[in-house]
């Protein structure tokens, strides 16, 4: 189980994942050796995974981001699997999520311009299998990001 020291380490890591072990230990008021040992233990138990770079698609020229909320035709028993398999082949899909609720699947789609988005939507999204309904939310701004856990 996690103790207060572990929680302190995780909080600091969430706030600044790029810190070196020495810097992290100093912020947590621990020796480097203790800090390192706790981190190793959390990694071994699956509490702590790796670190991933978050790509800034806007900086790469993808100005448009649309969230497509999709309802599937659930009378088809393989609807979920076949839809997701096909959605994986759409190059401009950056996220696929499945849900329990009013929406079945959500796709994040990026595009360079609105015209580009329109083209992806018509040629690649609408041809995905088993779609019963689609709603689009156009992304305007990120107010909070980072996906930190309240530890």
């Amino acid at each position: 189980m996690l103790n207060d020291v572990d929680r302190r380490i995780l909080r600091q890591m969430q706030a600044a994942p790029e810190l070196s072990n020495a810097e992290l230990a100093a912020r947590c008021d621990l020796t480097s050796a203790t800090c390192y040992r706790r981190i190793e233990k959390m990694q071994a138990s699956g509490v702590l995974g790796g670190q991933q770079a978050v790509i800034d698609w806007q900086a790469l020229g993808y100005a448009v981001e649309v969230s497509l909320r999709i309802t599937l035709d659930k009378t088809q028993s393989r609807a979920f699997d076949e839809f997701i398999e096909a959605a994986r082949n759409v190059l401009h899909v950056i996220e696929i999520q499945t849900f329990l609720g009013r929406v079945d699947v959500r796709l994040s789609v990026i595009a360079r311009t609105m015209a580009h988005y329109q083209q992806i939507y018509r040629e690649q999204i609408l041809s995905l299998p088993h779609i019963a309904d689609i709603e689009a939310l156009m992304h305007v701004a990120r107010i909070k990001q980072g996906e930190g856990l309240p530890l």
């Binding site: 978050v54 698609w57 969230s67 950056i94 996220e95 849900f99 156009m138 990120r142 856990l149 309240p150």
Partner: protein, 152 residues
């Protein structure tokens, strides 16, 4: 805006999986000298291609069993201040991400909770009491995968 070549795309894709890879490891993987790879990574960072790092945590092991996405509509558009709503919702620790969107909802929130009763507590005490909050739709996340997108 930065133009990417094939190696840039591969490097970004590798870093999106493991942000701790250095110029040495990436250089070996893509057959480049360490200094050449270092310059490339520096250029990508300077162009803002990488927004930051995401720490991968075992949600279930840490006791967070549920992730819910909320679509939130503001009740009286024009009369409520977006700033007031955004400030208040940003302060809720269980709200991980907030996106301002256009469409049938005004905001999209990612919320973590220990379990469904805990989520209900957050929804009733924290979300439904936000200034200007109107209709709220909740969808419980079952699975999630991030794709390489145009880097693939």
């Amino acid at each position: 805006m930065i133009d990417l070549d094939d190696v840039d795309r591969k490097v970004l894709r590798a870093l999106a999986q493991d942000a701790t890879l250095g110029a040495g490891a990436l250089g070996r993987r893509f057959d480049m000298s360490q200094p050449a790879m270092w310059r490339r990574i520096k250029r990508l960072h300077e162009a803002g291609a990488i927004r930051g790092r995401r720490l991968v945590l075992g949600h279930e092991k840490l006791g967070f069993g549920v992730t819910v996405f909320l679509g939130v509509k503001l009740a009286t558009k024009g009369r409520v201040s977006l700033e007031d709503f955004e400030r208040a919702v940003s302060a809720i620790p269980e709200v991980q991400t907030i996106e301002h969107v256009l469409g049938m909802y005004d905001y999209r929130l990612r919320v973590v909770a220990r379990d469904i009763p805990d989520f209900e507590r957050v929804l009733r005490r924290r979300i439904m009491t936000l200034p200007g909050v109107g209709e709220v739709e909740a969808n419980v996340l079952l699975s999630e995968e991030r794709r390489p997108g145009p880097l693939g």
